[in-house]
């Protein structure tokens, strides 16, 4: 009975979606914000990658909230998973291939991650993407050697300070009398590594925060005791 009613509900939903689909007009409406940004972003923000200028400049507030959601998810995850019992058994170390592979991959991943973070305003990429790579860089050794756990104090300190840095840079603009999260500093030359004012700094904070946060969350998940 439940299955039948669910199937009917889905059928009705599918028909509704088809009706909406037919009524949609494609390609006729101009993206107002998009066109204005595309024409103004180069001079106003100074980043060659317009998506970065949207993420950190025009919609920097959204990015701040995104960071906060990740932080909240990690905090709530820590609250839910609880503390590990002090004498709980740890998983055995992984085999030779995983250990050697982890040792090889670690420096490579760190370099790639930092590269993507630092070039976020020039090429596709940025703090979130690079941060995830950094998180995997710090997590893979944990998979290879579960016996040597990550230091949660270091992770949470980096996480908190990086997030506070982001807000602090945003608040600095308010001391000048401007609005919250106004981009600061000289815009520099378009396409150079040191350009777009405070945007690379913001992405660096984002990258460090995301990296440490995800690594901590993954470590928490993998450390929680196994069900017998």
């Amino acid at each position: 009975m439940r299955r039948l009613s669910s199937a009917l509900f889905l059928l009705g939903l599918g028909l509704l979606i088809a009706a909406i689909f037919k009524g949609m007009e494609f390609g006729t409406v101009a993206p107002i914000a998009g066109q204005l940004i595309n024409s103004a972003a180069a001079e106003q923000v100074g980043a060659a990658n317009f998506v970065t200028s949207v993420v950190l400049g025009y919609r920097g507030f959204d990015t701040l909230l995104e960071l906060t959601i990740l932080f909240t998810a990690a905090t709530a995850g820590g609250l839910v998973l609880g503390k590990r019992a002090p004498n709980a058994k740890r998983d055995p170390d992984a085999g030779f291939i995983l250990q050697a592979g982890a040792d090889l991959l670690f420096p490579l991943l760190v370099v790639v991650g930092v590269y993507i973070i630092l070039h976020g305003h020039l090429t596709p990429g940025g703090g979130f993407q690079g941060g995830v790579i950094l998180a995997s860089a710090f997590f893979i050794p944990m998979l290879a050697r579960p016996g040597t756990p990550m230091s949660h104090t270091a992770v949470s300190t980096i996480e908190g300070l990086a997030g506070a840095c982001f807000i602090f840079i945003g608040l600095l603009a308010m001391f000048d009398g401007e609005a919250f999260l106004t981009p600061l500093m000289d815009k520099g030359e378009l396409g150079a590594l040191l350009s777009a004012g405070s945007l690379p700094l913001l992405y660096l904070a984002v990258g460090l925060k995301v990296g440490s946060e995800l690594a901590g969350l993954l470590a928490h998940l993998s450390e929680s005791e196994a069900v017998d």
Binding site: I20, L65, T72, A76, T157, L171, M174, A179
Partner: protein, 483 residues
Amino acid sequence: MNQLALLVALPLITAFLLPVINRVSTFAARWTGPLVLVITSAIGISFWPQLGDSAVAIELGGFRPPLGITLYADKMALLFALATSIGTLLLWPSRGEDKLRQSTLALILAGSGSGLALSGDLFNIYVFYELVAVVSYGLIAARSTAGSFAATVRYLIVSSFGAALALTGIALVYQATGTLNLAQLSQLAPTHLNNLQGLAAFVLMLIGFGVKAELFPVNTWVPEVYATAPTRISGLLAGVVSKLALLIIVRLLVLIFHQPEALTVMLVLGILGVVTGELAAWRARDFNRMIAFSSIGQLGIMFIAFSIPGEAGVFAGLAVALHHLVVKPAMFLLAERWQGSLANLAGAARTSPLGAALFILLALSLIGVPPLPGFWAKLLVMINLVAQENSLYMLGAWVIMGGAALEANYLFRVASSFYHRTDEQTPPAAHRPGDLATASLLGAGLVASAFLIMPLADEIEGVASQAADKNHYVQTVNPEQLP
């Protein structure tokens, strides 16, 4: 006026730094949170006289909308932002393990709730809404019982489902208009959104944001969560967060979606909410779920009120919302010691006379007995419903009256059992002084507003008329057009 962004930024930066502060000094970490909320509330209160008749729009990052995000502060938004800060301060999580994480989450709740009330950009509202959701998942699961985990995961599924629907609605709106700024959407709505796509987008967003507003049919999570979460968090969720979600829907209705079908959908769902909520509350046999179902019913009344077109609907709905904002958290504070079967509450007046008296006061106001504010709020709704001269609105009026009758029955069933003389049964323990003090404060506020009802009503009517003024919103934000 740029300092308004501090209402969001200050709690957030404190939340980020709280683990670091905790390493330096545990004492500082315990008191930093409430201190920051006091400062934030003070900043918010200092803005109130500056608002006057015209609202203020703040362009974040110095970018003109629709390129950037604007915060729009009219009296209604500031009122609810203040309610969030002060509410979180009053209902600060004090029990349970892992107080550090709970304090962090409570700070983020205060900041994100204020932002949700103030935001003027559709996607920004969605992100704030998700932030409030994730914070509530963490706070609900704080008791770490098996039931709380199950309730939290079920709530997470319903809420994520709703949020994805809301995002689909936002995608449809963006596809039809090309902008996300509420003021610009208001300008484009008559030509671009007055069709099936616009109505579908509204219904999707209504259901999506309605999860937190305990809208029928996505309110299945309410009894489970309120029964297993810490009572202070339940009070915050039922009292403050549900109003914030309702506020977003009202803004969408006032600014963008003017189709009569949109109002009809809200009216129908509101009526269903009142009927199911009050009936379930009448049949409930434990205290927490009784007041949980009662809040579903009250929110149904708010949906009915807001579905009345024009400024009258906003005024009526705002009156009921503000009344519930004060009453429900107080009831949940009383529920701390009265959890459990209603039969166990016999003779509670002996151990907690003030608590029993407070409960009677709150119940009278909820039912709508003059001269308490609840009466005036319900009267306003009824008058405006009957004035519509439409059979569906009349049905809404009858349903509200029926609901009030049911409320009187189940609330007084409980209240009279407080004063039973029972010798076989031990009455429940007395309330903690902290809980009782906060509940008394809210009760005192209720009584004070009963005496000051006329000036208060004028003030609320001013807030409502400013909120319902679409043109004022668009002029204040003044979005940039395409050349």
